[in-house]
Subunit: 367 residues, 2 copies
Amino acid sequence: MEVAILGLGTIGIGIYELIDKSEYLKDIKVKKVLDKDKSKESILKPGQLTDNFEEIVNDDEIKIIFEVMGAKEFSYMCIKRSLENKKHVITANKEVIALYLDELTKIAKTNKVSLMYEASVGGGIFLITPLLECVKINEVKNIVGILNGTTNYILTKMSRENLDFSEALKLAQQKGFAEANPTADLEGLDIVRKITILSMIAYKGILDVEKVYHFGISNIEYCDIIFLKELGYDIKLIGSSFNNNNSIDIAVEPVAVDNYNILSGVNEEFNGIFIEASVNDKLMYYGKGAGRYPTANALINDMIMIMENKGNNYFTNVNKLTIKEDLDKRSEYYIRFNNGNQIITDEITRQEFLSQLDNIKFYARII
Amino acid sequence: MEVAILGLGTIGIGIYELIDKSEYLKDIKVKKVLDKDKSKESILKPGQLTDNFEEIVNDDEIKIIFEVMGAKEFSYMCIKRSLENKKHVITANKEVIALYLDELTKIAKTNKVSLMYEASVGGGIFLITPLLECVKINEVKNIVGILNGTTNYILTKMSRENLDFSEALKLAQQKGFAEANPTADLEGLDIVRKITILSMIAYKGILDVEKVYHFGISNIEYCDIIFLKELGYDIKLIGSSFNNNNSIDIAVEPVAVDNYNILSGVNEEFNGIFIEASVNDKLMYYGKGAGRYPTANALINDMIMIMENKGNNYFTNVNKLTIKEDLDKRSEYYIRFNNGNQIITDEITRQEFLSQLDNIKFYARII
């Protein structure tokens, strides 16, 4: 079978190498690779590199297209046109999937091809497929996840190696976990996309990714870490969603977890996703949320499912969901105010907490 | 599609109820239920209960058979004859799968039917299917798991609620986590079967379940818990296997883990299975390892995969494996000797440790 790879960055190279090296994939041939950078020809075989998407999307021999460019509008257009031309699409693009999951699913179904996006959430963790299976006989109650390796790495380093925020960020960048411009990660936007994708699958409807509450860790300081550590808590940046009759309480924010919480064991660049479902009870998935090979592994696994005719698990949009924060939800909070004061509140409602947000520099909800 | 359930115990009732209640399974009909206990007729519809397996295995309308009797020879015979009569088989029977996985897989393949056993390890945790997928392009390096809910519950209660062993065991029995005769759980035999099944799938060969080293927690006392707790360790009963060129170092024994280890967060009756693979790196699966609905969920999920033609992931036996403990492996050990002395050793080899085993009442390998 012939395939094409759109984008020869970190993940694209991982896919290319795995197809090249794996005995199990010996019948797969990479026919074309889309990339504007001509110097990448040296990695490839003659004739594989092109900078013209039309060459790929109009090639009848190409049956499967990997989209790993990480663009927004261009990626969306490529995915859409590939599906319309009856090619299976496998993507890691969380931004596009969070925005267009419903539309792209419909196009895939109409054209009787697969749309696979295991790698869009949790990198190498086999998560989307089990969740699509799970919802067939379960009602999912809630999802709570550490979904971003960069911020989790920074928080782990601050806590364990007593680094301040800028040192930990620098280390993350040196290790290749944080991008040169890490804003989307630090502000929680990356997690917003991921928790939105998981929640749409879990609760079987559409959510507006742009309406999800988020508060990141850009303002965290070492004094926050140490204050909570002395009380037995670790800070984690968490995406969560709770389903209450199709009203979805979804948020991304720092939380304080104690040692007894399984999420406290999710450290360094790892991800951990906790799901509670009606029949299956509590589940957690843990693994590398990013990185060349774990992520490429997820994309290749999607391809194997397509090859074995198992790629027909589509997102179902049967519920009308609304995003609604539970303003009566009571929690204790750790708060550092703009004036530097640090406190632990009594149990207060979400409403009471939000009313103070303008005065707050950093906080963590205690769970 | 018509199905039969062999055994109407805790799990069998769970399967029966899920099929009855789930909209997704409305086309599935339970035609027959095998159970010797006539009083169970009251739970079922007229004509469903039978005590005669021949009625089921010779019924051409029955396409799928759930085996949840938990017997040994009789279960094995029923599974084998069902496969030979071209019926798909779904079982939770870890004893039979550990002993006969290779033979039963061959019979299933010959007869072009599925043999599914997701529920045999880790209860409701979706684990076997991902592992069978994983090995297509990964070499699995090692597996480390908390695979028994009963013992993990006892250890958690001893540690967190300062109970002694007999109190914790009684509590586990009251909660329904421990059987009246809990020996197989306490001695680690249940875990031996599970780690053997996972290891055979992961390393693609056969292992002799009867040759697996195991040391359980029958002799544990509160003094062991508290001694290690003061040093920052929790005791867990763990099954592990490491692959070194098809020589498999497999064992079930108590280990001491610190707070930083993800397995320290696996508490109460939960299971956690950690897998390290060549491409996918580190993964962990966490969830309810037992219980009516989580386990029935796994069995029903197997059925859905068969219904959707995804039940063709067979165990592959391509490697000649041998069980061989790594006698040079160095670890620290917590040891309580027969005379009551408690020590932490320096790093010693496995050989040095094993030479003292006759004098040891309880121990935990420190990892």
